[in-house]
């Protein structure tokens, strides 16, 4: 079985950030493998352990993002494709999906795994866009997977419960981090990752000459601050009753 996993490098949302004149300023060094993609890699590894096959990760990003491919290789993926992006364009989900579609056009695979969303933008679009562009059936927000020999059984978290879907190959799945706990690469993995093949392709080579950007970020703003309220400390019985009464009398929400 051949699985491609699309992975993205994202800024660490836990790192301090700052907005200056509408621009977002972040520590340029605090970038990580998107947590949802780490789950996608983990899911692929688990399948591989049971059913064999090959896992290749694909990442579109600038030079700094290359290290994120190493991270996935250190986890256990077999090889990587690094699609080097032009630095001066702001890509959105549509443009990433179009580039990925151009990359996958003549590839053979059983499944493509994506993260269900980018941790920084929470867009959640690329995976299903890519599926549609490639004409693949897809399941988003997967929380559980199993392979039966010719199709995947996927549980997706839906609005009313978990929808159990049989997805034939080739198909695409976007993974939730609720699916698993991604392994932390061990030392052997880190050491082996250096020798695993990583192919570099420039965006231009993909023939996606006119980049499809559909949305523009105009700027960033602070969220209206929520004033911290009052802290009640002391005798449990007393403070519990006090707050209960305030919720009724002062807030009228009981």
């Amino acid at each position: 079985m051949k699985i491609y996993v699309c992975i993205k490098q994202v800024p660490d949302v836990n790192a301090p950030l700052q907005i200056k004149d509408g621009a977002l300023i972040q520590d340029a060094d605090r970038n990580i493998l998107n947590a949802y993609d780490a789950s996608a890699v983990e899911a692929a590894l688990v399948l591989q352990e049971k059913h064999g096959g090959e896992i290749e990760v694909v990442l579109i990003g600038n030079d700094k993002a290359r290290e994120t491919i190493r991270k996935a290789l250190a986890m256990g993926a077999d090889s990587g494709v690094f699609i080097q992006e032009q630095i001066d364009t702001l890509y959105d989900s549509y443009s990433y999906a179009s580039l990925l579609a151009a990359f996958f056009k003549d590839k053979e695979y059983d499944y493509i795994f994506c993260g269900k969303q980018s941790q920084d933008t929470d867009a959640g679009l690329t995976g299903s866009m890519l599926a549609e562009l490639l004409g693949l059936p897809f399941v988003t927000n997967a929380v559980w997977l199993e392979y039966s020999g010719n199709s995947l059984t996927v549980k997706r978290q839906g609005d009313t419960g978990q929808e159990v879907i049989e997805l034939p190959s080739p198909g695409l799945v976007t993974c939730s981090n609720d699916m698993n706990d991604p392994r932390i690469p061990n030392l052997k993995g880190i050491m082996q990752s250096k020798r695993k093949p990583v192919e570099t392709i420039s965006v231009n080579e993909l023939g996606a000459d006119r980049l499809a950007v559909k949305t523009t970020i105009l700027g960033y703003e602070e969220k209206p601050a929520r004033e911290p309220g009052k802290k009640y400390e002391g005798e449990p019985d007393e403070i519990a009753r006090q707050v209960a009464r305030l919720l009724d009398e002062a807030e009228n929400v009981i």
């Binding site: 897809f138 609005d159 105009l218 960033y220 449990p236």
Partner: protein, 325 residues
């Protein structure tokens, strides 16, 4: 004249309030800009639901009715919406942000070559398209975004707008639709739902959220009791959904659901940004945590510092007293 089309989400045969919120916003925009506000219901019983929708007054209610829409499945839904777009040619197709709409948004946008903006908290029309605000960076900040396309697809976070009744004699128009099983391309085998009575979290007026501090059966009993006194929906942090203590559909936060109730009570929850991302818009936030430095206290209106096992019993008792008066 161009059209603002709202997709009406249906759960268990009921119209979701959050899609009425979106419809109300579209009604308002249509009025301001002199456009048509229309709605579309895609369900096995769309016609019946369309009648109820008249209370919220879109000019036209499109319906697509087929047994295949009994449960959510993305292939027929994308096909139906694509058909509807061809026929109606709207400028905007707006959805409430649900697992269902998020499932198809990207694919539909690729299918129609349309721009899409997911999970917005505000949107307005411009001469050339849509301007919107979206929380990003685990909802730590807001980004202002723009999409200029002849069709823009949007999903809107629940609680962003009020649902306003606006009775009208809406025209109901059916769009014919059929699909062969083979075209579904995948098979929905079953739906596993959590047992017990369900209050839809994203629409609940009061939400009780349990975190890792709720350690055992006794703790869960206290949560249940509190929820039943307040007629509240129960949610949980990832710590407890991951551990299998609560159903994953109850997770509140970046990965889970966004809630914006009148009252949110977080119990034994530290307040990690990814959790806060899903509840920071609650009107009144109460937190019960034994660690006075827990980050949740930074956003709580009422922060009760103490052991939940000692706090909850008198809290529940006092609430019962209030309720019975």
């Amino acid at each position: 004249m161009s059209t603002l089309l709202t997709y009406i989400s249906v759960n268990d045969g009921k119209i979701k309030r959050s899609s009425l919120e979106v419809l109300s916003r579209c009604n308002e925009l249509a009025e301001q800009h002199n456009l048509i506000s229309a709605a579309i219901i895609i369900d096995k019983d769309a016609a019946g639901l369309a009648k109820q929708l008249k209370a919220y007054g879109p000019s036209v209610i499109y319906i697509i009715e087929d047994p295949v829409f009994k449960n959510h499945l993305n292939t027929p839904l994308i096909r139906a919406l694509s058909l509807a777009i061809e026929k109606i040619n709207p400028n905007i197709l707006a959805f409430a942000s649900t697992e269902g709409s998020k499932d198809i948004l990207g694919a539909l946008s690729a299918n129609r070559g349309a721009a899409s903006l997911s999970d917005v908290s505000e949107f307005e029309l411009t001469d050339t398209g849509v301007k919107a605000k979206r929380p990003v960076m685990a909802s730590k900040i807001i980004s202002a975004v723009e999409a200029n396309d002849s069709l823009v697809l949007i999903t809107v976070r629940s609680g962003s707008y009020d649902a306003v009744e606006h009775p009208a004699d809406s025209k109901i128009e059916e769009i014919p639709f059929t699909i062969d099983d083979i075209d579904l391309k995948m098979i929905l085998k079953e739906i596993i739902t959590a047992s017990g009575d369900k209050i839809d979290l994203s629409e609940a007026e009061t939400v009780i959220a349990a975190g890792r501090g709720v350690k055992d059966e006794e703790g869960r009993k206290l949560i249940d009791e509190l929820a039943s006194v307040l007629n509240a929906g129960i949610g949980a942090s990832r710590a407890l959904t991951e551990a299998g203590v609560y159903d994953p559909s109850l997770q509140i936060g970046q990965t889970g659901k966004v809630v914006s109730p009148q009252l949110y009570i977080g119990i034994g929850i530290s307040g990690a940004i990814q959790h806060v991302a899903g509840m920071a818009n609650s009107k009144v936030i109460v937190a019960i945590n034994k660690d006075p430095d827990a980050p949740i206290f930074d956003i709580a209106d009422y922060g009760i510092v103490g052991d939940l096992y000692k706090i909850l019993p008198p809290f529940i008792e006092e609430l019962k007293k209030i309720k019975s008066n």
